[in-house]
Amino acid sequence: MRIGVTVFPGSNCDRDALYAVERLGAEPVELWHADPDLKGVDAVIVPGGFSYGDYLRPGAIARFARVMGPLERFAEEGGPVIGVCNGFQVLTEAHLLPGALLRNTSMRFVCDRVRVRVETNATPWTAALAPGDELTLPVAHNEGNFFADPETLARLEDEERVVLRYLENPNGSANDIAGVCNEGRNVVGVMPHPERVSDPALGSDEGLRLLRSVLVGAGV
């Protein structure tokens, strides 16, 4: 299986993501922001960082990068896509995911490890987990406070589209939401960083428990 990782100017978790893919035993493929296609990958990770310096709003400029056109089509056709942290922000700006990520209510950058609960395994990125499973994952963000209007929030809950929920909310996020998926359930956005815990040498490889899902979840 080939898993692509997009690289925008200012992405800084792309190497971690490529390494995590390697640890899964899949083939990592770098997708440059100016690439005209996705090089035939089976799944895509939009990594964290500060794409385009977070100018205007986090993710607002990356959304118009050339590689985003093919990525949007891939997502619309049901291809598995996960956005992590800034990648989550990019996917909301691109309207591939609902809501938006606001400034943390504390007005502080949060850099910590948090416990999250898996709320659904009906996505390609959580298929190898069970609802109720708990993971400890790193978070590092300034805008991780998930917001959606009350109707959208109710819909996300009704349709079981909250993917991860914080056990202790680090940023003021609505309903303790740490991750959501789109209507087709193939596009997931999460604020915590599974790719940063992909090797016991880094303190934990718990992130692989989540990312590994795509090997079965994508049905490839």
Binding site: L56, A60, E93, A100, L102, S106, M107, N145, F147, G172
Partner: protein, 74 residues
């Protein structure tokens, strides 16, 4: 022509930036400030204002969380 675009958090949306500024003002001795909202000012120089609204919707603001207004300056 010059166009000035004003983008701000929608009413009712938590504005932690505004709140931080509001709580800093009394520390400097400025009293009586009830609310502060922090927005963004964008000035454009362009040939025609025909597409300013589309620019606001598609890039300059995020309609999920922000509202905008714009005016022609000259």
């Amino acid at each position: 022509m010059k166009v000035r675009v004003l983008v701000r958090p929608k009413a009712g949306i938590l504005d932690p930036q505004g709140e931080a500024v509001r709580s800093a003002l009394p520390a400097l001795g400025f009293g009586g400030v009830q609310t502060v909202h922090v927005g963004r000012l964008i000035e454009l120089e362009l040939e025609s204002a025909d597409e300013v609204d589309a620019m606001c919707r598609r890039l300059l603001s995020n309609p999920t969380i922000e509202e905008y207004e714009w005016e022609v300056l000259s």
